[in-house]
Subunit: 254 residues, 2 copies
């Protein structure tokens, strides 16, 4: 049995808590947060604390915290024997500098509080200083997901950057599409099958090979017509920049 | 039985041909294309022609052609009694001006020659001058898909514009993500569950409510770190513009 103390109570912490609680091999023995209010949902099942001095001895301290507080919280755990691990895509392993045994347990997924997550499909990106600690993190990841990847701090930064493009920026494209539909009394659901197919296509083929649309076709009359239709100057700018980027990327630029 | 002549032999024509051939209520009686080579795949099952003078009498003439040739081809069909229909997202119903009975049968999906399409999930956007012709198109759409929407020329233009954002531009975001992964020896498959979840989230909630990431969090240190990591100046520009667009859209701009 792996004894684990969870630090944090946000989206990632909440989702990991649920996944870990369902595991037979892990026991969440305590949840820490600096504010007691957000500990309410955990209180019924698990001891909680708002004080570093009360943090229990554990095999793993899992810091599901905002990036900027990771260094100061890890500092507070410098005397602990267990493995201190953060869940951030952007913070290096060395962000846990004061800890003797340190690691990274980064779930590459977008978490919303309201929406259930299928843990079996979350890839965990793992890193540790020590082979044995890495094995411990692997067994933790496999216990809740089945997908574990060894990813260095350097790679993880790049992965996190890629995630901004394929998730956050993609979602903004969806927002623009929805806004155009709403403004023209078109049900957004018409676009759902297209959105689904666009995401599914690239499971088996490179997105590079799957590019379609007026930009890659060099269909200037459609591009001009679209720019005329766009009301927001910001959306016009996005349309122009992405059209030109697609053409450069595919070697179509004149 | 609806007798139909298909004009065109590209991706959309090929996919519609397959869907229509599977229907019990529609018979594709002829396929036209200006070049005989591309008619080869249809030849075994259906009469083909490269000559307008040989085009048969039919209930529907379905023009699955490039936008810019739709007017001239529809001109050639001006003496026909049947309903002349195009499949374009960008051409107005009036693009078929010479035809007495005209309509639009726009399948809102991204078609790749290599990939099979689930027709039952394609929404068809329909338009016609005449109520009876609209009913004919509705029955055609329902026969192959089950999803039919009445969409005006004005709305269809906007829908096509939205589709560029949620499909073509989204796919370019995937391409950038894949390139960053490849350049850093990270398997792109790690991002697949995130891509899938991002697309699925917005089936039940507005994308506006689902926005996550450093831009909406106002996490400037991550934004700066990402801009430092980006090698391509075009990707830097995209990152900057979309970050600022997300902040404006969500009222976070200073």
């Amino acid at each position: 049995m792996i004894n684990l103390v969870l630090l944090g109570s946000g989206n990632v912490a909440t989702h990991l808590y649920k996944a870990l609680s369902a595991s037979q091999r892990v026991k969440v023995i305590q949840v820490y947060n600096h504010a007691s209010g957000s500990l309410q949902p955990f209180k019924k099942e698990t001891p909680v604390t708002t004080s570093f001095s009360e943090i229990m001895e554990a095999d793993i301290y899992l810091l599901a915290l905002k990036d900027d507080v990771i260094p100061q919280v890890s500092e507070k755990l410098s005397k602990k024997q267990g493995l201190v691990v953060h869940t951030s895509g952007a913070v290096a392993l060395n962000g846990l500098l004061p800890n003797r045994r340190r690691g990274v347990f980064y779930p590459l997924q977008t978490f919303s509080k309201e929406k259930e997550v299928n843990y079996s499909e979350i890839p965990f990106c793992l890193e540790a200083n020590d082979e044995e600690d890495l094995d411990l993190l692997k067994s933790l990841a496999r216990d809740i997901s089945g997908k574990a990847y060894e990813i260095s701090s350097q790679q993880r930064k790049k992965l996190h950057l890629s995630a901004v493009f394929v998730c956050n920026f993609v979602n903004h494209m969806y927002s623009i599409g929805e806004k155009i539909c709403r403004d023209n009394k078109i049900p957004f659901e018409i676009l759902q099958p297209l959105i689904k197919e666009t995401a599914e296509k690239i499971k088996t083929a490179s997105p590079r090979e799957m590019q379609t649309g007026p930009a890659i076709r060099g269909d200037q009359s459609t591009i001009d017509a679209h720019l005329d239709l766009l009301v927001s100057s910001e959306n016009k700018q996005i349309y122009q920049l992405l059209t030109s980027a697609i053409q450069t990327f595919h070697g179509k630029k004149l």
